[in-house]
């Protein structure tokens, strides 16, 4: 490399400092600044002293240093003195600038050096870079736009304020099948479906007041004349040079609109179904919706009978009064079997059927009536729930199937969605019928204890109106003493631990007590309890009466010392009532009444009663009585009276032997006593007649002898003696009788009866 020797002089320095470009000289070996001019100091922000402490690396961004080093190396080996290239330099304040560097190698004070001028191109460079970017973006955007216009699914057109076409993009042929040229010179409203034109016109009118306007869905015919749905965005470019019109970007929404129509109709039907209480009124409402569809003149709903024998016409609706004539003509035609008429055929085939020329269709049983009102097409739409055929919708139109294609598609979609609704309604109806027809009270009660629903049987039973019941906790209807038990049963039921039915007393509006027995299941998801009640008031009263009667009977048996027993004919062990055990002075724990054990209680003289069932030689239907003694378990001798009979079942087979046993010991003793007393009384009576009266009669006879027969040969003293003898005898026998009578008094006073 050849260097130019420069002597330092004032002139040189003045020129160096006056150059309006930053200049410096640096050592090619150490890269240290050797000299800098004033412009460099001014431009880069470092002082001359600072420069002289720095190398040229210090004015480069760190990442550019490798590039600098390469450049220095190239400079060192360069044959020419001059170089020119663009670098990035960093000022003292950290800002980056783009500089064009021109340099010449020189010898400076004996050192290999390079003198450099730096031209700051930052401003220029930024401009150029932005321009490039803008160009690239523009280029991309244009490519994309062109692609959209030529190949997209959107229709792009430029129209005038009145709707006249000025330009139509080529996509018209792909979207509508109509070449762009076909639109030129025509007005958009020549094409737009007349029903939709007013709202499109209204929106178009607004474009003069704003930059852009959206036009809601409207119909536009394609090359085949089929109406399709579109939405358009209008953009005002009336003042844009070259365009001077309204750019209309149009997007097809046919699929979305059709789906929306189906959904809207379905939503409407669903709302109708949920509002209507009965199945028939739901269906009536649904059909009224269907006949609102253009071209659908009449519609019917047929449902399969519960026994699946036939279809029943459950609802019908007509668009205009004149179609009522059809039903006047076909009065009585309210059912059909599988395969007959359109409805029956739909049932058989379980698919959508479209019959045209109804008036000439021999399978259509109402052809004549169809002709009278001008019906042409019948559309049969099955209502399915899964594989189950519930019924069908039949729609009638006066137009041909070809015209109805769109409606048929719509109705098919609707009927497909209707199945679950109808099924639900049918189920609800069946449920409601069961609920309301039930003569037993039914309630749906929330976990909060409030009645959500109850049937007529319940409100009739309770005597309250439904509005009152629906705002009342069920506990308020329960008899106060049973409320705690009811609350416990409810909580057990909710926790799934209730094992038996709840029976409790309810208070009616009239203050009557009703016994109700409840069976319940939980519907956890709705937090409700479905409960079926049974009025068991009569049964309870009967039970109470029976219990009272039983208690009375027990008491009576106790008082009468009367026990009841029975023995199944094929058993050796008898069942004894409590009183039987009492009579035998034992208890079920101490004595088992087997035949042998009972026999052991008989004294030997009564043993024959048990021999070969002698006691029970009974004829069915007759009762035998026995009185005998027993030796009780405590060793007492008692007299008992038994009434025994055989009991037969309905077939006349002897099933058991039963009887009553009564402790008659006391009455038996009393009877013995009475018998004894009677005997004594008889004896007294006899004595009175024969013993007392004998001397008395004798006295009377002696008086008669004296008076009537003049003594009959006896002297008065003799007669008097005889009278005296008889009087003494009389005195004696009276004394004897007194003793006997006292004896009876004594025995009577020691009566042993304990009653």
């Amino acid at each position: 490399m050849r260097s130019v020797a420069i002597e330092q002089s004032d002139f040189d320095r003045a020129v160096f400092d006056l150059v309006p470009l930053p200049m410096w000289i640096y050592d090619l070996d150490t890269l240290h600044f050797l000299a800098v001019n004033k412009e460099a100091i001014h431009h880069y922000g470092y002082s001359e002293e600072e420069f002289k402490q720095m190398t040229i690396k210090d004015i480069r961004p760190r990442e550019d240093i490798p590039k600098l080093e390469e450049a220095v190396e190239r400079t060192k080996n360069r044959r020419t003195k001059f170089k020119k290239s663009i670098f990035r330099h960093q000022k003292r304040d950290g800002s980056i600038m783009y500089v064009q560097i021109k340099g010449n190698t020189i010898d400076f004070k004996g050192k290999k050096a390079e003198i450099v001028t730096a031209t700051d191109l930052t401003e220029l460079y930024e401009k150029e870079r932005n321009l490039t970017k803008a160009y690239e973006e523009l280029s991309f955007s244009e490519r994309r736009y062109r692609s959209l216009i030529e190949n997209g699914r959107d229709l792009v057109a430029i129209i005038g304020l009145e709707g006249n076409y000025k330009y139509v993009a080529p996509t018209s042929s792909t979207v509508l099948g109509i070449e762009p040229d076909a639109f030129l010179g025509k007005n958009a409203f020549d094409f737009i479906y007349e029903e939709d034109a007013p709202h499109v016109k209204e929106q178009l009118g607004k474009i003069t007041e704003s930059k852009s306007v959206s036009i809601n869905a409207y119909r536009f015919p394609d090359a085949n004349g089929d109406l399709r749905w579109f939405k358009t965005e209008l953009s005002n470019h009336l003042n844009t040079p070259l365009i001077e019109g309204i750019i209309a970007t149009t997007h097809e929404v046919t699929a979305e609109i059709k789906e929306k129509i189906v959904n809207d109709l379905f939503t409407e039907l669903m709302s109708t179904f949920s509002k209507s209480i009965s199945l028939v009124s739901s269906l009536d409402q649904a059909l009224q919706q269907l006949v609102l569809l253009p071209k659908i003149r009449m519609s019917e709903i047929w449902l399969v009978a519960p026994d699946h024998s036939e279809l029943h016409l459950v609802s019908r609706s007509v668009q205009q009064r004149k179609f009522d004539l059809f039903y006047q003509q076909t009065q009585g035609f309210t059912s059909c079997t599988e395969g007959s008429d359109l409805a029956g055929r739909v049932w058989k085939e379980k698919k959508v059927l479209v019959w045209d020329n109804l008036s000439e269709n021999q399978h259509f049983l109402r052809a004549e009536a169809a002709q009278m009102v001008g019906l042409s097409t019948g559309i049969g739409l099955p209502i399915m729930y899964g594989d189950e055929f519930l019924g069908c919708i039949v729609c009638f139109s006066t137009t041909s199937p070809a015209v109805l294609a769109e409606k048929i598609t719509l109705l098919t979609h609707i009927s497909e969605k209707l199945g679950p609704l109808v099924k639900q309604k049918v189920t609800e109806e069946e449920y409601r019928n069961v609920f309301n027809i039930s003569s037993d009270p039914l309630c749906i009660v929330g976990f909060d204890g409030y009645i959500k629903k109850c049937n007529t049987a319940f409100d009739l039973l309770m005597g309250y109106q439904k509005p009152y019941l629906y705002t009342t906790a069920i506990f308020e209807l329960i008899y106060p003493d049973d409320q705690a038990r009811a609350a416990e049963a409810l909580s057990l039921l909710i926790s799934g631990q209730l094992t038996e039915r709840f029976s409790g007393r309810f208070l009616t509006a009239q203050g009557e007590v009703k016994w109700l027995q409840w069976s319940a299941t939980i519907a956890a998801e709705s937090k409700t309890i479905v409960a079926v009640g049974k009025d068991i008031t009569k049964q309870k009263l009967a039970e109470q009466a029976l219990q009272t009667a039983y208690e009375q009977l027990k008491t009576a048996q106790k008082i009468a010392k009367l026990g009841y027993w029975f023995r199944p004919i094929d058993s050796d062990i008898s069942e004894w009532s409590e009183e039987v055990y009492t009579i035998y002075d034992c208890s079920p724990d101490t004595f088992i009444p087997t035949t042998e054990n009972v026999k052991q209680t008989l004294p030997p003289k009564h043993g024959h009663l048990m021999e070969s069932n002698a006691l029970f030689h009974l004829e069915p239907g007759t009762t035998k009585s026995f009185e005998h003694e027993i030796i009780t378990l405590s060793g007492k001798l008692k007299w008992v009276h038994q009434e025994v009979r055989l009991v037969s079942d309905e077939q006349g087979n002897t099933v058991k032997i039963e009887g009553t046993i009564q402790d008659i010991t006391a009455s038996r003793q009393a009877m013995d006593q009475i018998k004894k007393q009677n005997d004594t009384l008889h004896e007294i009576a006899w004595m009175q007649s024969h013993i007392i009266r004998a001397p008395l009669i004798r006295i009377m006879s002696l008086i008669y002898l004296s008076r009537e027969l003049d003594g009959g040969g006896k002297s008065t003293p003799e007669i008097m003696d005889l009278i005296m003898d008889s009087a003494k005898e009389l005195d004696e026998v009276i004394a004897q009788i007194t003793v006997k009578t006292n004896l009876i008094h004594h025995e009577h006073g020691t009566d042993t009866t304990d009653r």
Binding site: W686, Q688, H690, L722
Partner: protein
Amino acid sequence: MEQILLIDDDAVINFIHEKIISSVYPDAAVVILENGQKAVDYIQKNQQNSYLVFLDINMPIMDGWEFLEAMQDYPNKENLNIHMLTSSVDLRDRSRAEDNSMVRSFLPKPLTKDVLRSIPFGEEPA
């Protein structure tokens, strides 16, 4: 021949009754028998006779009821005109007498002339 039988163990009564009968029927044959057994024996021995019988109830050996029972099989019952003549006022005695077809009447002691006259005697039995 018709005889009057007084069947009674009371001697005083028999004496008085005999006097009463004699006062009404002076020619009547009166036989006194002290108990039923004697009467049975007498009648059995003298079956040819017909008898108007005044029968007491309470007697030793054989009482009036036993006499009637003993005479149940007597072949000439139609010749026996039996009247109970007793001190008894016991209704059971009266009833028992009424139930016995051989007894014509139940008469209280003592026998009176009026009562005696009301009883057919000395005629063919009815």
